[in-house]
Each structure stands twice: as C-alpha cells, then as structure tokens.
C-alpha cells in the first residue's frame, strides 16, 4: 500500500527522503515537484514498500545505471587512436594504453551514475521526464546507493589511471587539466554543468580533444595536430548530440528557466543552429579527410553523409511545434545520422588497418 508525503527543501527530513536512506524497507519516489531548484522547492513522494517494486536483473540494472548505450562515445576515439598509432608504428606503451582505456571506461560509467544522482537531487529529472529507464526514478536503487556505486567506479578508474600517469607524465597533465576544468565547471555553474554555456564547452573539451589526446599520450606518442583535429571534430559531433537533446526538451527547459544554447536561441533559430552545427562538423570532416585521410574515403564518406544529412535537415525544418512528436523525430533522425557517421568512421579505420596489415604481411 503506497502513501504520499510532501516535503519542503527546508524540512529536516527532506534530505533523507531525496537520498532514499530514510528506511530500509521503503522507497520514496518523487512524483510531483514545485519550484524546482529554488529554496521554496517542495516534492511529493510516493512511499512504497521495497517489496512492491519489481527488481530487474543485475545486468539490466548495471547497464541502465552506467548507460552502456552511450559508451560508443569513448570507444570510437579509443579505436581511432589505436589504429592511427598502429599504422604509424607508434604503439610505444601498450600496457599504459590498456590501463588508460579501462580507466576511461570506469570513469565514464562512474560519471554517468553520478550524473543521474545529480539530476535526481537537483530536480532536473523531475523537469525533463526521460523516456528511458532511470534506476533511481524507478526505485531500483536509492540515490544514496547509486552515489556510493559511482564512487566505487571513480576510485577504480583512479587506481587504473595512477600507473598510466606514473609511466606517461603527459597523460597525467592531460588528466589534471581535464579534472581542473571539470571541477571548475561544477563550481561555476548554478544548476548543472550540462545546462550552461561553459558546461557545453566542457563536454566538447572532455569528450573531444582531451579524451583523444589523453589516449594518445598514454601510448607515449605525444600530441600531434592530427589527433587534435580529430578530437575537435569528435567534440563537435558529441555537442551535436547534446544539442539534439536540448532541442527535444526545449519547451520544458524554457518553462523551467534552464539556460542553454538552444533555449537562448528559441524554437525557430534552433533549427538553423542545429543545421549549421552539423554543417560545421561536415566541414571539419572534409578538412580532416583532406589532410589525413584517403581521397577515396573522403569522396565516399562525404557522399554518404551528405545523402543522410538531407533527410535530417528536412525533418529539422519541418518541426512545427515545440511540444509535439516532431521534436522526438528530430532527435531520433539526428541520432541516426550520428550513428551512421560512427559506422563510416569505424569502417574507414578498419579499412586502413586491414590495408596496412596486408601491406606488412
């Protein structure tokens, strides 16, 4: 039997209920919130016995917690760096590279969980009701438990990263600068590092040039122009995904006073912005392939991506309402375009790898 409980942020019990450590036998699921992100915030919780919540399998819980479906964002640069340096015969420190890869996977998992915890505590997940299964919202785990799990992942990542920093000093420097910017972003932003202009820049930097450069220096190969250009290109692509999400949630975020690039632009200008941003990516893609790729792959990829871009631009242009299903369609089509791009990228790198192996064998 469930019951409702409304608590204000100023109530002594509030913290226990939002973190979920008020009881071992019950869960508090927030169902209504008012004045989110303000001192007047109040939440109505549905209090349910833990036994009434259907528990998923361990693997389902883990994959939803760490957001396994987004791991390609770190796997693609990892694969790229490996192939590039394999062909250039610069795999100087493979053990460190392996450790860096494991550390990045653990860190990404830990930060994804931490992000869900932050969204839950800050109230962001009550403004933007995600269609995907979020373990904390569903009561599979409490925010407190998730927070602890995230620290386990982050500390494990640190354990793997320490030997890398020890053997490759440059990797330590890249990690230190990235961490510094990350914490700066957390302290500077009022709501959430995802929802500010600086945080968008941080995301670009961390998942783009910093990640790619970090992988490469862990190999002992140093930083070169090619890896930086690729990092910038990848960062621009990742930001395109973020802008698609921002666009899909434009109405809710605008109503809630959350500020990001697309709420600043508004509904109509955002369409132009999304198309311009992807065009910027295509320009970088062309430039990168012109200088560092083969002419064959430049022609093939540009034709393929160009053909896939046209329907995406059409869907974006045709979005008629800031609240209907057209926004989800824009997001879906944009994500599909991104996936096609990553498939082309993987095929291209694999092609270079096979060609190189054929040549040396």
């Amino acid at each position: 039997m469930s019951r409702f409980l409304t608590l204000k942020k100023t109530d002594a019990e509030y913290s226990k209920y939002i973190w979920g450590n008020f009881s071992a036998t019950e869960r508090a699921l927030p169902i209504e919130s008012l004045n989110v992100g303000t001192p007047q915030e109040s939440i109505t919780f549905e209090i349910l016995p833990v036994s009434s919540i259907s528990r998923p399998s361990f693997f389902k819980l883990l994959s939803r917690l760490i957001k396994w479906n987004y791991f390609f964002l770190i796997f693609i640069p990892l694969y790229y760096v490996f192939v590039k340096n394999f062909i250039y015969q610069r795999l100087f420190d493979l053990p460190s590279f392996g450790l860096a890869a494991v550390a990045s996977i653990l860190l990404f998992a830990g930060l994804n969980i931490r992000n869900d915890v932050f969204d839950h505590v800050s109230g962001f997940d009550r403004i933007i009701k995600s269609s995907s299964e979020k373990p904390i919202i569903l009561g599979w785990v409490t925010a407190h438990q998730a927070h602890k799990i995230s620290w386990i992942f982050i500390l494990a990542a640190a354990l793997f990263a320490i030997p890398v920093c020890y053997s490759q000093y440059e990797a330590g420097r890249v990690a230190a600068i990235t961490l510094l910017l990350f914490f700066l972003g957390n302290f500077l932003t009022k709501n959430n590092y995802k929802h500010k202009y600086f945080s968008e820049f941080l995301l670009f930097l961390i998942l783009g040039p910093a990640l790619c450069a970090g992988y490469q220096v862990s190999l002992g190969s140093g930083v070169d122009t090619e890896i930086l250009v690729f990092g910038v290109m990848w960062g621009v692509a990742v930001l395109f995904l973020l802008y698609l999400v921002q666009y899909a949630n434009l109405f809710e975020t605008s109503q809630s006073g959350i500020k990001n690039t697309l709420t600043h632009m508004g509904f109509d200008k955002s369409k132009t912005y999304l198309k311009t941003w992807w065009s910027l990516f295509l320009a970088l893609w062309t430039g990168y392939h012109y200088f560092y790729g083969s002419v064959y792959w430049l022609a093939l990829s540009i034709i393929s991506l160009g053909l896939c871009t046209v329907p995406t631009y059409t869907v974006i242009s045709n979005a008629g309402s800031p609240i209907g299903s057209s926004l989800a369609r824009v997001r879906h089509t944009g994500f599909r375009l991104f996936i096609i791009m990553t498939v082309i990228l993987v095929l291209e790198q694999t092609w270079y790898l096979i060609n190189y192996l054929n040549w040396i064998l």
Binding site: F4, T6, K8, I31, E32, L34, N35, Q40, S42, T44, K129, F251, E252, Q255, G320, S321, P322, I323, G324, S325, S326, A328, R329
Partner: protein, 318 residues
C-alpha cells in the same frame, strides 16, 4: 449560490451586437468555475463584492477563451447554439473575447490588489500560450500524454488554479506553502477535468451528448487518444485516425471489450491522480486549521473539495 455574472449594463449600450453576442454566450453555461471560487471564498468570509468580482473575472476569462477557442477550432456549436464566430463574424468573436479580457483588467485594477492583477495576467498569458500550443499540435497523432498534460496545464488547469488561489490572494494571504498546495490541487483538477472531457469524445460517461470523435476528426489527438495509441503500430494509428464512427474505432481494438479494458486502465491511472489530489486536500485542511477559520466551514469546504473529483472526472452529479 447563483451569481450574476453578466449584465448588459456592464457593456456599452451603443454596441448592441456586442451585448447580443454576450447574451448568447453567457446563457446556458454551468458557471462551474465561479461556483468553485464561491466554494473557496465562503469559509474565508470574503466580502461579497470581492467574491462577485472574482466570480465575474473567472467567467469573463473562461468565456473569452471559448470565443477564441471556437474560432481556432472552427467549432460550429457552443452550448447547443451556433458559435459566436458563425453567427456574428470571426472578427466580432475575436473583438468580443478581447473586450472581455480588457474588462477583467479594468475591474481588477479598480479593486486595487496588484498581486491579484499580476496573477490574473499570468493566467491569461498561460491560457493563450496553451491555446497556441494546442493549435500547433493539430495533426500530430504521435504526441504523448505528458506533452498534452503540459498543454492542458496551461490551457485548462491554469483556470482551476486561479479559482482556488484567487480568494486567498484577494485576502492578501500570499503564504507560499499554501499556494503551492492550491497550485497542485488546481493542476490535478484541471488535468482530471480535461481527461474526462477527452473521454467524452469516445462516448465514455457522455451524459451531455457531446459530439462523438469530434476531436479525432478535427485532427486533434486528445489525452485518451494519446494514451491508447502509445503502444500502437503506425498502421493501427492510421486506422484509428480514419475512424468514421465508434464501430470503426472499436475495430482498431478488435472489439469494444478490448477498448473498454483500455478505458479501465486509463481510469486506474487517473484514480492515482485522484488519490494524490486528496492528499493535497488534507494538507490544505491542516493549513486552514492554522488560519483559525470556523471549524464547520473548513469541514464543509474539505468535503466539497474532496467530492470534486467524482464530479469532474467520473461526472457523478450528487
């Protein structure tokens, strides 16, 4: 309980068409919103002039929205009579709606409670935003229930919230916690009313004889339509949209029995909302007790507020 909302003397005698239009518009309405204002105002012992002003305000806003709504939706009938835009002209319907909203501001500002003027202006802008958004999703048969809820919060629930909050604001009671509770109650009442109204389109509890499948044929997927189509394939949605009558519609579900099962599921979800509403009513009671009002008046108010969900969602007239 009846309150005189409309009097020809309120409007210029040299605009006979305007008076005639308002005569048509205001007769036949149930005046539910003004009654809700009265229900809340009475235990607060609000001055009768202020109470009348609030009742008139909400009915003027509501009727202005109907004038505009009928024109936007191209609805031919309102309360069983030709809609104003068909009988007079679209231009007159727009002007008459605007005139009502202007009168609201004139009357309220004359009262002098600036917080009330500000809040009422917010509600009017919410209403217009909701109307605009609703028009932008016509023809969208993939819209979700939460998205429609957001539109209904602006278009329908905002007025319910006003009915509950305005009497307190008129008394200059601006306690944030109290207004949070009233806002939540208004939001839930508005959503329940809208969802019940949307069910009428599928002839569920349609005691008033509302046109069947009117929303769907006009290209508008309402909340119940969005609920039942959430798990449908594109082909099923196509078939649903092309339904000419209820038999066509039931065929999408392979029979009326399956359709009624979906109605029961929808009712179950809304029953949870009703439970939540009653939770807020209890919270309101605790607040009212602290305000040292007459205990009997509080009990009566709470009883009436609790019974509203039966009236608004299940259409039970007790």
């Amino acid at each position: 309980m009846a309150v005189k909302i409309f009097s020809p003397q309120d409007f210029p005698a040299y605009l006979p068409k305007l008076n005639s239009l308002y005569d048509d518009l205001f007769t036949g309405g149930k005046g539910f919103r003004s009654k809700l204002v009265q229900i809340v105002a009475r235990p607060l012992k609000l001055d009768s002039d202020v109470e009348n002003l609030l009742c008139q305000t909400i009915e003027f806003i509501h009727n202005a929205s109907l004038l505009h709504d009928d024109l936007i939706d191209r609805s031919q009938l309102r309360r069983g009579k030709p809609a104003a835009w068909t009988k007079y002209s679209p231009e007159y319907a727009v002007l008459a709606g605007d005139y009502l909203l202007a009168r609201v501001m004139v009357n309220l500002s004359g009262h002098g409670n600036i917080r009330l003027v500000q809040y009422t202006s917010e509600i009017i802008s919410d209403l217009l935003e909701g109307e605009w958004l609703q028009d932008s999703v016509v023809g969208d048969f993939f819209i979700s229930v939460p998205q429609l809820d957001r539109i209904h919060n602006l278009k329908t629930a905002s007025l319910f919230k006003w009915c509950l909050r305005a009497p307190f604001i008129a008394l200059e009671n601006n306690d944030k916690e109290l207004h949070n509770i009233l806002s939540e109650m208004g939001t839930l009442l508005g959503q329940l009313f809208q969802r019940s109204d949307d069910l009428l389109d599928y002839d569920i509890r349609n005691y008033e004889g509302k046109v069947i499948l009117g929303d769907l044929k006009a290209g508008y997927l309402n909340s119940f339509g969005a609920f039942i189509s959430a798990d449908m394939s594109r082909a099923q949605i196509d078939k649903m949209v092309k339904s000419q009558d209820l038999n066509d519609f039931y065929a999408v579900f392979s029979g009326k029995e399956n359709f009624l099962k979906s109605v029961a599921e929808f009712d179950a979800i809304n029953t949870e909302k009703i439970k939540l509403y009653h939770h807020y009513v209890q919270q309101l009671k605790a607040h009212l007790v602290k305000m040292s009002l007459d205990q009997n008046a509080i009990e009566q108010l709470i009883r009436v507020l609790n019974s509203l969900t039966d009236l608004l969602y299940f259409r039970k007239k007790s």
